[in-house]
């Protein structure tokens, strides 16, 4: 991983020195274990701020929306797919970007680690595929694959789909993963069970909108929850309002979501709202053979009509 960091710094420095970009967007070391902070670098001498490790789960495409500068951006597989979506949706221009591709082997889910150790986590280090966690209750070692974010463990697009530079050779893509096991489990439930399931899932929501704001797809100037003429959804903690918010938020991501996991990662109360977007992803794949953000040449499933689009839901 430290070689990734060195290479990112080297590329960033070169891009800034050659004035090919005005800023490089990447991560800097966080102030807590397993947290890195998205940051920008404008001067070649400041590239030492940039780091890369298994705690760079925030989707950096989020920071590109409507920016006008020439930007170098560090991008793992899912980031690159969201950059593609951004370009297709005219939120940023391809010519503005120098994409520094990072082959990704998954990001750590700090909640998984926190749940399986005693006391507070004091320090975390990574060597090879091993994560060493120092906590108040002693030291414990994890195999990285066991503590990956759920979306990372079933990810089939680890390498950037679009890039100008690469920090390393591509990694092997996972082929034998069951991407939609969790969605299938919900589909198998009865209507009542499903209603109850989501009632429980969404109960802790405090409507901080971190899921919406962490998502690179959510860039509407005025979100539907903020509209007042008419007001679509109440602003209280009422379960129906919470459900309406989550339903419509997910729906706005239909055919666009890359399952980067930023929403779930950002949620302060640990709601797996990805189940909703994943269901839509699965439908898009099954009905239209579509996965978001794989290349710049094809239009999204929901903005093209094909004669063979399924229509059996219409009477």
């Amino acid at each position: 991983m430290s070689t990734y960091t060195d290479k990112i710094r080297e590329i960033a420095q070169r891009l800034l020195k050659e004035c090919r970009v005005e800023m490089v967007i990447g991560f800097r070391q966080g102030s807590m274990p397993m947290m890195n902070e998205p940051c920008f670098v404008r001067k070649p001498e400041e590239v030492d701020r940039l780091v890369w490790d298994s705690n760079c789960g925030i989707n950096l495409a989020n920071y590109l929306t409507n920016r006008k500068e020439k930007i170098g951006i560090v991008a793992k597989g899912c980031d690159s797919r969201n950059i593609v979506t951004h370009i297709l949706e005219n939120k940023v221009k391809r010519e503005q970007l120098v994409i520094i591709g990072v082959p990704c082997q998954g990001m750590i889910d700090k909640r998984k680690i926190a749940a399986s150790i005693q006391g507070e986590i004091l320090a975390v280090s990574e060597t090879g595929g091993q994560i060493k966690v120092k906590s108040a209750g002693g030291e414990k070692s994890f195999n990285k694959n066991e503590v990956l974010q759920q979306n990372c463990s079933v990810c089939v697009h680890r390498n950037p789909v679009i890039h100008d530079e690469m920090v390393a050779a591509p990694v092997a893509e996972q082929t034998d993963v069951d991407q939609y096991a969790d969605v299938n489990a919900i589909e198998a439930m009865s209507t009542e069970e499903r209603w109850e399931f989501f009632e429980k899932l969404l109960a802790p929501c405090i409507r901080c909108y971190a899921c919406r704001n962490a998502c690179p797809l959510c860039y509407c100037p005025t979100c539907f929850v903020d509209e007042s003429k008419p007001q679509w959804v109440g602003k209280s903690q009422d379960p129906m309002d919470v459900r309406t918010f989550h339903f419509l938020r997910a729906f706005h991501c239909a055919g666009r979501c890359t399952d980067c996991g930023a929403c779930e990662r950002a949620c302060p109360v640990g709601i797996n709202m990805r189940l909703l977007t994943k269901k839509l992803n699965k439908d898009c794949l099954e009905l239209y053979g579509w996965q978001a953000g794989l290349n710049l040449d094809s239009r999204p499933a929901l903005d093209v009509y094909k004669a063979n689009d399924p229509e059996d839901f219409i009477h």
């Binding site: 008419p230 679509w232 129906m240 309406t244 419509l248 729906f251």
Partner: protein, 66 residues
């Protein structure tokens, strides 16, 4: 419960289904009074927000027709 009648909020395209409803009317055809028609300029104007708004206000079903 026996006197309950469903309320079905129907979003009908001005040019298609709304026309069909109109024609059914002038042809003096009979159909259940449970549909509450909202005329929309085209089903392209339909938004998931509308369907949810109808359900939130107590509609028993939503029908979108082009």
């Amino acid at each position: 419960m026996s006197d309950w009648e469903p309320k079905i909020v129907s979003f009908l395209c001005n040019w298609c289904s709304y026309g069909a409803a109109d024609l059914a009317g002038v042809s003096r055809m009979e159909y259940p009074p449970n549909v509450r028609v909202v005329r929309i300029p085209c089903t392209g104007r339909m938004s998931p927000k509308f369907a949810l708004a109808a359900l939130r206000e107590g509609a028993d079903a939503v029908w979108v027709s082009g």
